[in-house]
Assembly symmetry: C2
């Protein structure tokens, strides 16, 4: 780490940005760390990356824990490589700090993909807000996109709304399930049915895979037609690579179609709006807190705890004390 | 609905608030709807409820889909009723709008708890942000607390970070798992191990329940000691009520102890700070958008989509155009 960070010439932003855009792996790794840590010197690379982005296809892979997402992502990557596409993997793992889930998945993957210069793998974990994670993930995708990776696979443990938000920074998303997920309510309860452009029933060598797929297809029929795309439900055995080429083909077909019909552009615009909104929010709250008189926040909190102020009254009081903001009358 | 809403006298906030605090069920239901819909007339009841709150114990019940949380919550409620405690259940179901998961769980519960005036049940679903859901859930708990319910059980499908946030508005949280959850990484990956004050292995009539509980206990030993409380791991068969009294006893013992040691107060203060922060954020962004010149937001978005502005540049431009806010130099 030391050696590579020195070679990257941290004091020379111009050179650093050029290295990132030229896909220098040490520079890429360092740029991503800057994004994760929100250091001020991340801005230069973010701006350059944003300007140079927009070519890569960003593909979300989500699903409940244990569905075999990591293995599937590895196999999808190999299939894309066979088709001469370069691939970056961003594995988003919003787990508890002590679980080490992200690292574990990574180590397994490394074995199969190591040494291929057309592949870049990065895990992102968080201890902070998941809102922040979605922002960071989008930024990291910009960097990898601008560095020339043609496909970016974003892997998330998608069960909660926030993980879905991370998945939804993608151009298209596959939901990975297992045969038993077909048992109706269960799969639907996770809220996953809505976001998939494509569904994969992995571990299809288990009993009931066809039945599970059928149940998922039936559930999808309930989904209000948001386009003329009926999400396919594909069977895979990721550990053996079975069904993987079909997943890639379907993804590519879907994205080609989406691009032709203008849907891709619309979707990306929505994503950009969300990013701008997140950025504005973060900045507003930071400035607001910075401009409060010392102790004002703690006093409001004391009053809340004593129930002498209600939350709305505390908001009004803080607003009156802040010199950066007046609430709408 | 029509009849009850008329009887509630919507134009008379004072009377309405009194009805809510007197635990009038139609008024309660209506107050909660106002909170969910964020109607301006929710403020009066929110302020009154906040002032009158702080007595109820708020207990979170979370865990992956299929762990049997709804059944367990029903049985816990019956046990609390046996101990002469009134109980409100808030079932938070951040599912897709079309799944109807919340309603389903409710209907099952209704059968067993219907007609008991000491029980109130409310499901909350959302199509919007989960941040909003956590805020609303906390507010609904205030209302139920002020209306006199002694225990509030907050049930969430807890796998994502946001569901954990919802669970964490509680004073204490039980994580409900199944015997197979003990298979190591799986349970930990969900990030659930960190937030439980108590763990329940439900469906303990299945094979491997003791082994599962043991694996969970081992995993908990890895957890950094955040207090001198070693979370108990209890076995239940919720459908038969087996083990349920022990769960209630352990919860009560834990909360008594937490209250004696000042931990409850500290925890509640943290929750209040989070709520205030959320409230300030929401208000800031709303005011910011309101005060932008017409079309400024859309223009920034166009420039983003054309990549002639980066997100940070768009932020700076909007800030310059807003008449409510100047960024810190």
């Amino acid at each position: 780490m030391r050696a590579s960070s020195r070679s990257v010439a941290v004091r020379d932003d111009g050179r650093f940005v050029r290295l990132v855009l030229a896909c220098d792996r040490a520079a890429l790794a360092r740029a991503i760390s800057r994004i994760e840590n929100e250091t001020p010197d991340a801005i230069a690379v973010l701006d350059a990356a944003f300007e140079g982005s927009g070519r890569a296809r960003r593909i979300g892979i989500t699903g409940p824990p244990g569905a075999g997402k990591s293995t599937l992502v590895t196999k999808l990557t190999q299939e894309y490589r066979r088709r001469d596409r370069t691939v970056a993997i961003v594995a988003v793992d919003p787990t508890s700090p002590f679980s080490g889930g992200a690292l574990l998945g990574d180590r397994v993957r490394m074995g199969e993909l190591a040494g291929d210069p057309g592949v870049f793998i990065r895990s992102m974990a968080t201890r902070g807000s998941l809102g922040g994670l979605a922002v960071h993930t989008a930024q990291v995708c910009d960097v990898l996109d601008a560095a020339g990776f043609e496909r970016i696979l974003i892997e998330t443990v998608g069960v909660g709304q926030s993980e879905l938000e991370v998945a939804q920074i993608a151009d298209a998303t596959a939901v990975v399930l297992v045969p038993e997920s077909g048992d109706g309510v269960q799969a639907m309860k996770a809220g996953l049915m809505e976001i998939g452009d494509l569904f994969v029933v992995n571990k299809a060598d288990r009993d009931g895979a066809e039945r599970g797929a059928h149940a998922i297809r039936s559930a999808l029929e309930l989904r209000t037609a948001r386009s003329d795309w009926q999400p396919p439900v594909l069977l895979t055995i990721a550990t053996q690579g079975t069904g993987v080429p079909e997943v890639v083909s379907q993804f590519e077909e879907y994205l080609d179609r989406l691009a032709r019909q203008g849907g891709l552009e619309r979707r990306r615009r929505l994503r950009l709006e969300q990013r701008l909104d997140d950025l504005v929010r973060d900045r507003l709250i930071r400035d607001f807190r910075d401009r409060l008189p010392a102790g004002a926040w703690a006093q409001a909190l004391d009053a809340l705890a004593a129930r002498t102020l209600t939350p709305h009254q505390a908001l009004a009081q803080l607003a009156a004390e802040s010199n950066s903001w007046r609430p709408t009358p």
